[in-house]
Symmetry: C2
Subunit: 439 residues, 2 copies
């Protein structure tokens, strides 16, 4: 029996008969000379066929599963430089209705809602498949870099007894008569795990019952979480962010060049400051002054946070000033940060936290956390939280925690901004939002 | 400023002064000569201290975060072969109450419920930490082996519009006025993804609202899922299972030898049959005959499934007959298998599916799936399912799917059986069951 080879392996088999298996990507019937394109997990391959050779495909449509065998011929006109001649084709699983999306054109022309409804099929398109492949590459690189830095992987519970970050944006689940919730982030757990492994990471789903439907949010996404101990302050965390993001970009360039090419990705410039060993940074207050003075913005000074427009302008400034697509904003006011945030020891109204802007959009939030038990008790009181609800979480601090911090990257957000897609849903496998629970 | 080193790096610094940071693991005060043991992410290190040197630790209890600096001396009596002399100690974060579990004895003596209540602290114990470290190693190996085999990682939604496998054991979630569910498995999605990548894997949480509290089940666990196309039948899948399980065991031996040693793991024998390139197998009917004839069991013949006792005896038999801790049982009756199961073409009452027994307990279920659209429509009708509920899932088959199959490994189950723990909760980070939602 002939062994199947992949479309990427044709070059090594010129002059030999080979067998390919895959999807009937396209058939261009011209009469005497016909072109069949087969798609497998690696790419496309063309076969030149006579009318007789085409006969088994009578009544068979695109996306049918087929097996073809033929002679490999080098042909500069063929898409991959090689094609099959003297072809025999067998149908393994026939498709008899036209697909709801056209998979064999350069781009799917459908609107986003139509694409999402048929995403089960739509992701087969080589462009969309490449987006998901890049996502896989990001996860792979994230883990490899952190494993190299002596981090341990954890998988923390998603069904939790109380809401992590507070607020109404939490999914409730009935658990045998008790109320449970879906974890909005692994924040508490990853901090707890610093007590065990010092350095941990997690790749997993998080759930946000947010009603708003923006182009940058979905209700479930994949969060790449990092937390580690024995840090100096948030600058230690920013250094790690830079190592991780830079490492991901290098990994993609090394291992996903084909996908990046197909997606026409303009790789971001990741400038690292020698002093901080991190991407360039600006202080929150200075950032507000800068957008006011340089860009004439009137709503920045005195505001407790930056608006998306401020972020966009800061991104522009960072590109002009440092040539960098990444910019940290540090020292956000404590009032806008969650209760576990560590204040700046020399100004307790300012936090030891940061956002990382990527091309002028927030990509990562992180910082130093409180590590003293008494500080947690005080913070709970200040926020009006019932410390009873946090018994297990606080136990970690009661029994010894080092100074620590961390950050989280939204996988789909990162991919969206890397590829410069106009909606995060193009970078999500099967996105969930207020309108959509399927596929 | 002195750079922190890890306890594992002492050997390289004999005769030098170094700095260690970590947890105050143990203090044995004997008067003139006192022993302090510090724990960091790598292990333990001992310091020999005078009463004067101990002074900063006055009133300070185990698990305090400390920094010590001292001179590294080779000392065969010390636990690691090295110890620190001329020590200076600084307290970074003081613990002032005794821990609820004793972390510095060889084993934690508490009962399982007490351990679970304080698992936030309990997992710091070097034994329990090693269990979680082995879990991390299993995930790492699983991904590496499959990536090497050209599989692509996917992260599929956990909030789903309809229950995957049917049954009452599903968590319901309110999603903006609609009913959503927590995925009981990524089954449908991983099959759909075969249409995109041919070969996929996923590591992620699954949710089972099962009321029963057994030693082998929890309500949320980590599932290691695999699915791939262009298979011959379930034997192709069994070959992949064998590759993955064998590869995980080899990876653990190569990279987690310290943890395996500490946990006193008896490595299983993984015998591979030359013909099938898989672990030994037995047919379901033959298995029933065997336990009846060889072990005098009376409830096997004619039953639609094997009982845990039958599985235990089969495990014993496989060990005696093949010297193997792994045994496949193939050809379960179709009646006990889910609707997407592919029948044996020569006997449609029997499925092309398998269970893998590990030390006589079911570890993995897998098999070949239906791949023809018409077969799904027929199966839905036979099971009385509304095909409207499966529109997206069935779309994958309507538009071309190759013969495919896959399997799933429960991470905690695997670790439990590898280490031979008596309850899966010892192998779970923070287990969820009918009685437990925290930590």
């Amino acid at each position: 029996m002939q062994q199947r080879i992949l479309t990427s392996e044709l070059a090594a088999h010129v002059g030999q008969r080979v067998q390919l298996k895959g999807w009937l990507h396209k058939l261009r019937a011209h009469g005497e000379v016909n072109f069949l394109v087969l798609r497998d997990r690696k790419g496309l391959a063309q076969a030149v066929m006579s009318p007789q050779e085409l006969e088994p495909l009578h009544g068979i449509l695109a996306e049918s599963i087929i097996e073809i065998s033929g002679l490999v011929v080098a042909e500069s006109q063929a898409p991959s430089g090689y094609e099959l001649h003297e072809v025999e084709v067998t149908v393994i699983n026939a498709v008899t209705e036209p697909t709801p999306l056209e998979l064999n054109k350069k781009h799917i022309k459908s609107s986003l809602p139509t694409f999402l409804t048929h995403a089960v099929i739509g992701h087969r398109h080589v462009y969309h498949r490449a987006v998901l492949k890049v996502s896989a590459g990001v996860m792979q690189a994230f883990r490899a870099i952190l494993t190299e830095q002596d981090f341990t992987e954890v998988q923390t519970p998603k069904l939790v007894g109380s809401a992590t970050e507070g607020g109404a944006e939490v999914y409730a689940v009935e658990h045998f008569g008790q109320m449970a919730y879906l974890a909005q982030s692994p924040q508490f757990y990853k901090q707890i795990m610093v007590g065990i492994f010092e350095r941990v990471f997690e790749v997993g789903p998080v759930f946000r019952a947010e009603k708003h439907a923006t182009t940058r949010h979905t209700n479930e996404y994949v969060s790449l979480d990092v937390e580690f101990g024995f840090i100096e302050n948030h600058f230690t965390v920013m250094e790690m962010v830079t190592k991780v993001v830079g490492g991901i970009l290098r990994h993609l360039q090394a291992c996903y060049a084909d996908e990046l090419g197909l997606l026409e990705v303009v790789m971001p410039s990741a400038v690292v400051d020698e002093q901080t060993r991190a991407f360039p940074y600006i202080n929150f207050r200075e950032a507000q002054q800068l957008v006011t003075e340089r860009y004439g913005v009137t709503d920045a000074i005195g505001a407790p946070d930056l608006t998306p427009e401020h972020e966009r302008l800061l991104g522009q400034w960072a590109k002009e000033t440092y040539g960098s697509d990444f910019l940290f904003v540090v020292g956000y006011p404590m009032v806008k940060r969650p209760f576990y945030t560590h204040p700046n020891p020399s100004d307790p109204t300012v936090s030891n936290s940061f956002d990382l802007l990527f091309r002028g959009t927030e990509l990562i939030t992180g910082g130093q956390r409180l590590h003293q038990y008494v500080d947690y008790l005080a913070a709970a009181e200040r926020f009006g939280y019932d410390p009873e609800k946090f018994t297990s979480y606080f136990e970690a601090f009661k029994y010894g925690m080092p100074p620590h911090g961390g950050f989280a990257i939204g996988l789909e957000r990162f991919v969206m901004q890397l590829i410069q897609l106009d909606n995060i849903r193009w970078a999500s496998l099967f996105p969930r939002d207020i309108h959509r629970l399927t596929p």
